[in-house]
């Protein structure tokens, strides 16, 4: 099923999408999208939504099991509190991606903005994975509580910019960040440390990257050519002693 979104207000567009989903559509193609907010929000069924154009903010919020493919760039706040499903962006994306995300996957081909992966969390088998193929802005993995964040720096439109911004992992207290190549340790927050990958880590990382490579037509061995490092929080309660010493 196809919807021409040209000039459509987000409410009308999202109503058409929800109607199509409840009518049992398996695949929906949205053409001429430009800036409409909230696409795919709260969709509870395994439908595939293909977006041609730039979707607006808050794409795939609270999404639970659908797949969204964006054949262009995307904006801010993708995958807020997303529970399951996948978003694939064939371009760059903006700030605050995967806010409080607790399951599913976010695959961004190029650069991502500030505060990516902020407060991602995981519980048992619910483990969100966010992979960015370009560079990242400041506060990557801010207050991260769980899940997996991966930064590749392979497909950026801004080759002269640093791989990652300042304050990486500020307030991080759970989850894992993998970064391809070196990290600039002067740009890490005090709450995190850099570690070598174990064999188990490498196996897990390859598993995460396999699907990403498939989405963007990459070869896993090209991605794995370079060494990765792992960033972990030093403490589960980084601010426990901020105002007064906590009893042990």
């Amino acid at each position: 099923m196809k919807i021409n979104a040209s000039g459509m207000h987000y409410r009308d567009l999202n109503k058409s999408i929800r109607d199509a989903v409840s009518a049992g559509a398996e695949a929906i193609q949205l053409d001429h999208v430009n800036g409409q907010y909230f696409i795919g929000d709260g969709i509870n069924r395994p439908v595939t939504i293909t977006i041609n154009g730039v979707p607006g903010n808050d794409l795939a919020a609270f999404m639970n099991g659908a797949t969204i493919i964006v054949n262009d760039n995307a904006q801010d706040n993708i995958g807020n509190t997303m529970n399951a499903g996948k978003v694939v962006v064939h371009g760059h994306a903006g700030d605050v991606l995967g806010y409080g995300m607790r399951g599913g996957r976010l695959h961004i081909k190029k650069d991502v903005g500030y505060r990516v992966g902020i407060h991602m969390k995981s519980y048992n088998e619910n483990r969100p994975v966010l992979i960015a193929g370009g560079k990242a802005g400041d506060f990557f993995g801010e207050y991260m509580a769980g899940g997996i964040l991966i930064l590749l720096d392979m497909m950026s439109d801004n080759p002269d910019k640093p791989k990652h911004g300042y304050s990486l992992g500020t307030g991080m207290h759970g989850g894992t960040i993998f970064i391809r190549g070196e990290v600039d340790e002067s740009r890490l927050s005090k709450e995190v440390g850099v570690f070598e990958l174990t064999n188990d880590d490498t196996a897990a990382l390859e598993e995460y990257l396999k699907e990403y490579c498939k989405d963007f037509g990459l070869k896993l061995k090209d991605v794995m050519k370079e060494k990765f490092v792992k960033i972990l929080p030093k403490s589960k309660r980084p601010y426990g002693n901020m105002y007064c010493a906590m009893p042990r």
């Binding site: 607006g56 760039n73 500030y114 802005g137 439109d157």
Partner: protein, 371 residues
């Protein structure tokens, strides 16, 4: 007991939107283009403020200051026109053409005056003995009208430029002012969602002084410090909103103190001290000096601003990028907006599109001698 909801939970987007572009080779573009871009971000505002700044729109009067005046009463018109007549030679004046539309409620009266300073005794005293420039004298008159004439406000006062703003959605404001009839090489636009200060006609963006104009998304938490600092230099804040200080601060830093736009941006959004500590010696020295001298000029709080002048267009974020800003280039055009979609609406296939980092100014200069 059954609890009733305290408000309607259906969410409306609320965050102000801004957009702007420049043709660095001075090509003139009609007002309908910027209107299309800002209208795409309709839902970022709530109808309590919209506005535009346009450069290159008055080529026939480019030697004159174009004073756009807003009047809330007949008395304010009379008093202001007497004041203008005493202090300026008025080459031409007229009502700013407006179109009465239902979406715009209770508009004030708008008039424009193309003026040169009159050589009054006061003027001669200021220029010959008080070391003031002509521009300083104009600024003094703008401050005096805003501050002393009840119900009269100078909306803009630069050369070959003008601001058009009011209470309404930006596309309605554009319609009200017939913006499609103007052509400029640089346009900025704002869609307001007032949070801390009233939504009134003077409080809509842009805020201007001489050639400078500012549109802003965010809030200037340091307003009090900035305002007191500016008062020492004779700038009086009368528009009841935080953004006003940015326009005056840039006038002070760039025009009065001779800072380059790059240095002025460093004063407004200085890097943190721990970042300065890691810089090479010469940069460290400059930034230390800037922070020491202009501590009261630092803008604290979240912001994305677009800053227009006859020299060019500048986009700037706060240091930790708490508001969105996206930039793009296509041939000789540079675009800046809160959302990529607002750029793509008027430039579907840019050569380059990127998000600047926090505190990193994007500066698009007009080529010399083209406008």
């Amino acid at each position: 007991m059954k609890l009733k909801p305290t408000h309607i939970f259906e969410k409306d987007i609320s965050n102000c939107g801004l957009t702007g572009f420049i043709s660095t080779s001075g090509k003139l573009v009609g007002g309908e283009v910027i209107m299309k871009s800002i209208a795409l971000m309709h839902d970022r505002g709530n109808g309590l403020g919209g506005g535009f700044a346009a450069y290159g729109i008055y080529p026939q009067f480019k030697e004159f200051n174009a004073l756009h005046l807003m009047y809330e009463s007949g008395m304010s018109i009379q008093l202001t026109e007497e004041y203008l007549e005493q202090n300026f030679i008025i080459e031409h004046h007229e009502d700013i053409p407006t179109r009465r539309i239902p979406a715009i409620k209770n508009p004030p009266v708008f008039r424009r005056y193309f003026v040169k300073l009159r050589e009054t005794d006061e003027y001669l005293e200021a220029v010959n003995f008080q070391n003031m420039t002509e521009q300083d004298v104009v600024v003094g008159h703008v401050m005096r009208i805003n501050n002393e004439i009840e119900g009269a406000f100078v909306v803009s006062s630069g050369k070959n430029m003008g601001a058009f703003k009011g209470v309404g959605y930006p596309e309605d404001i554009a319609d009200f002012f017939n913006l499609e009839q103007y052509s400029g090489f640089l346009w900025t636009a704002h869609n307001r969602f007032p949070t801390n200060t009233p939504g009134w006609w003077g409080g809509a963006h842009p805020f201007t002084l001489l050639d400078w104009s500012i549109v802003h998304n965010g809030e200037i938490s340091s307003y009090g410090i900035n305002k007191r600092y500016l008062e020492m230099y004779g700038y009086l804040c009368t528009m009841l909103t935080d953004t006003e200080v940015v326009a005056y601060m840039l006038d002070l830093l760039i025009r009065k103190h001779g800072l380059s736009p790059e240095l002025a941006c460093m004063a407004l959004a200085s890097p943190f001290w721990d970042k300065i500590d890691t810089m090479p010696a010469d940069e460290r020295e400059i930034l230390t000096a800037i922070r020491q001298v202009y501590g009261s000029g630092l803008l604290n709080g979240p912001f994305a601003i677009l800053f227009g002048s006859n020299e060019g267009l500048i986009g700037l974020n706060d240091r930790v990028k708490l508001r969105p800003l996206v930039c793009a280039e296509k041939d000789d055009f540079v675009y800046m907006a809160s959302e990529e979609a607002a750029i793509r609406e008027i430039c579907p296939a840019p050569d380059k599109i990127w998000s600047p980092r926090g505190g990193e100014p994007v500066i698009a200069r007009l080529k010399q001698g083209v406008a």
